[in-house]
Amino acid sequence: MSATNGTTNMTLLQALNLALHEEMERSKDVVVLGEDVGRNGGVFRTTDGLFAKFGAERVMDTPLAESGIIGTAVGMAMYGLKPVAEIQFSDFIFPAFDQIVSEMAKMRYRSGGEFTCPVVVRTPAGGGIRGGHYHSQSPEAYFCHTPGLQVVYPATPEDAKGLLKSAIRGADPVIFFEPKRIYRTVKGDVPNDPDFTVPIGKARVARAGKDVTIVSWGAMVHTSLEAAEKAARNGVDIEVIDLRTLVPLDEECILTSVRKTGRVVIASEATRTCGFASEISAIIAEEAIDCLEAPIVRVTGYDTPFPYTLEHVYMPGPARVLDAVQRVRAF
């Protein structure tokens, strides 16, 4: 095992796997459940090695029923366990939507705080893997719209580990989106300290700049950074905000940047209408319109189902983000 000091370079997937191993070591109450998470170690291998180390009672291969995975996780959590439930693709989360929205999110409130169900729902999301409608979507807005859920969406290995550990140690239910497109392509230095965590609700300035703010989350952070590097060659200094957590939202981090640059692009690969980009746009308009030098511009997926062959037409890339940067600069 790694020393507790220093860092180890690893992929986002390895960071998630490490967080699960560490948290299961740390507390016997942490259990993992989902489809193919045990013997197979998960279809992406995120839960690799857990079954061998912690056994079938704590790493449960469940029947193929998302509502059952979340429904039983809610029961386990009310009883005092800490279930980490995997929904194999976020596109398949909808059979569990009732359990998430009607039960998990409301349990603390509706019981006056008597019962809580701090389940962590891990689920790979986002496109770019040639997955078509049902292996590519970004459904985070549905969950942000539901009071009682924390919604987390890391973009780096360090944050993936630190945020997943915070989610598991936390007292509230968390929908933990994993940017599957960059599971293995993004590597980074991750602290070895088993008590290293990243707080939920704090955004991060991924790249400091003074001319334009790009707000993004998940894999789009890397698209935005790529756009920023290209813009820098033309003398445009872009600040990239990585939200890390959508709910609770770190409004201050966004507003501080906007007050500095006065020009904002929000980049998200989700569908445009009622997407979380729209919420951020509304907050900026309400709180900082006096600082804006140009209209807020959203760069998003289109209002179509997620396509297969044309997925890179659908998903915003660095060029489309740069077009938006150009628009807010030219205003």
């Binding site: 509502s67 059952g68 009883y79 359990q99 039960e103 409130y109 006056g112 008597e114 809580t116 709910v247």
Partner: protein, 369 residues
């Protein structure tokens, strides 16, 4: 296929006679008193609603034997994952009527802080899980609670209640399936009261009985006379004991009848034959048990009447007490969404408090229904 009803006190139809459970006279009378208190709580709840003092009520008339007989088979440390028509099981666990009526009034005394409609109780200290309105979700929770009990190895059992309507829900399937696959210490009790609002049970399923559905989940299924408190107790005790021994779940169908409306907003004369209501009035579970108690020399009519009078008085006093309590504080709206109030919610709370009474007119708006 399971068509016969298991019974102690006897039915008019084909029945499978069970021996009376070995209980003391005192225990029989405790069961009786709990059934009567359940009836009187429901009568008081409906009366309060009809008088416009509470907004809504869900009575459990006719299902007192099913509730009390089953709850009595549990230990206090066992958990109940209820639906919204088992008030008697909370009373059985020692919840005071005033705690329940505080919920119906939605006042500051309500454990749920006035956040839910009436009869959506939560009683953590009694291992009685918060009730929701969606049908069937609690079945999956029960399987999960029982899976956790098994992982912890603490020897407890989780019992869940559902109606005949809930057997059509997704979570009936997933709850029983997960319970079966993980051999969880769980008891699934379907109180088949034959109607899900207006739809008769034959419109829910073409299965001859609900007990038969257990076969698909690899667990025993039993069909029990749900208006016979002693049969319900015996069958539930068997299921609870088996679960505790590690033998996994049982599905019990308690065949009964909803003698009242679905809720205070429902009029069953629109969909239910009068003859059927009369037929089942003659099978009233409280009257039936009283006849049995008298016939077996456990009580006389006067003693039983005194139980009714005392329960009536108890519920009346509880209602008076609940009605005097104030509404929850306005800013309690923002508590318990999360463990801690995030900045965004704090901002909304501050804005609401800053309004003072500026929007008081909006808050006194009449309900349109």
């Amino acid at each position: 296929m399971t068509t016969t009803l298991e019974t102690v006190m006897g039915t008019s139809g084909p029945g499978l006679e069970l021996a009376a459970p070995r209980l003391t006279r005192e225990q029989f009378l405790v069961l009786h008193r709990a059934m009567v208190r359940t009836r009187k709580l429901d009568e008081r709840g409906m009366k309060l609603q009809r008088q416009g003092r509470i907004g809504f009520y869900v009575p459990s008339f006719g299902e007192e034997a099913a509730q009390i007989g089953s709850a009595a088979a549990l230990d206090a440390a066992d958990w109940i994952s209820p639906s919204y028509r088992q008030p008697g099981t909370a009373l059985w666990r020692g919840v005071k009527p005033v705690e329940m009526l505080d919920n119906c009034f939605g006042n500051a005394g309500d454990a749920a802080k006035g956040r839910q409609m009436p009869v959506h109780y939560t009683f953590r200290s009694r291992n009685f899980i918060s009730i929701g309105s969606p049908i069937g979700t609690q079945i999956a929770h029960a399987a999960g609670v029982a899976m956790a009990m098994k992982i912890r190895g603490d020897g407890h059992v989780c019992l869940t209640y559902l109606g005949d309507g809930a057997t059509s829900s997704n979570d009936f399937h997933t709850g029983l399936n997960f319970g079966g696959v993980f051999k969880a210490p769980c008891v699934f009790i379907c109180i088949n009261n034959q109607y899900a609002i207006s739809l008769c049970v034959t419109g829910q399923t073409t299965s001859v009985s609900i007990a038969d559905k257990a076969v698909a989940y690899g667990m025993p299924g039993r069909r029990v006379d749900g208006n016979d408190v002693l049969a319900v107790y015996s069958a539930t005790k068997d299921a609870v004991d088996a679960a505790r021994r590690g033998e996994g779940p049982t599905l019990l169908e308690l065949f009964s009848f909803r003698m009242g409306p679905h809720s205070s907003s429902d009029d069953p004369s629109r969909y239910r034959p009068k003859a059927m209501e009369e037929e089942w009035a003659a099978k009233d579970p409280i009257q039936r048990f009283e006849k049995w108690l008298i016939a077996n020399g456990h009580a006389d009519a006067a003693a039983l009447a005194a139980v009714h009078a005392a329960a009536e008085e108890e519920m009346s006093e509880a209602a008076k007490e609940s009605e005097t309590k104030p509404a929850p504080a306005k800013d309690s709206l923002f508590d318990d969404v999360f463990a801690e109030r995030p900045a965004g919610l704090l901002k909304q709370r501050t804005a609401l408090l800053a309004e003072g009474d500026a929007h008081a007119a909006d808050m006194n708006a009449a309900f349109p229904l």
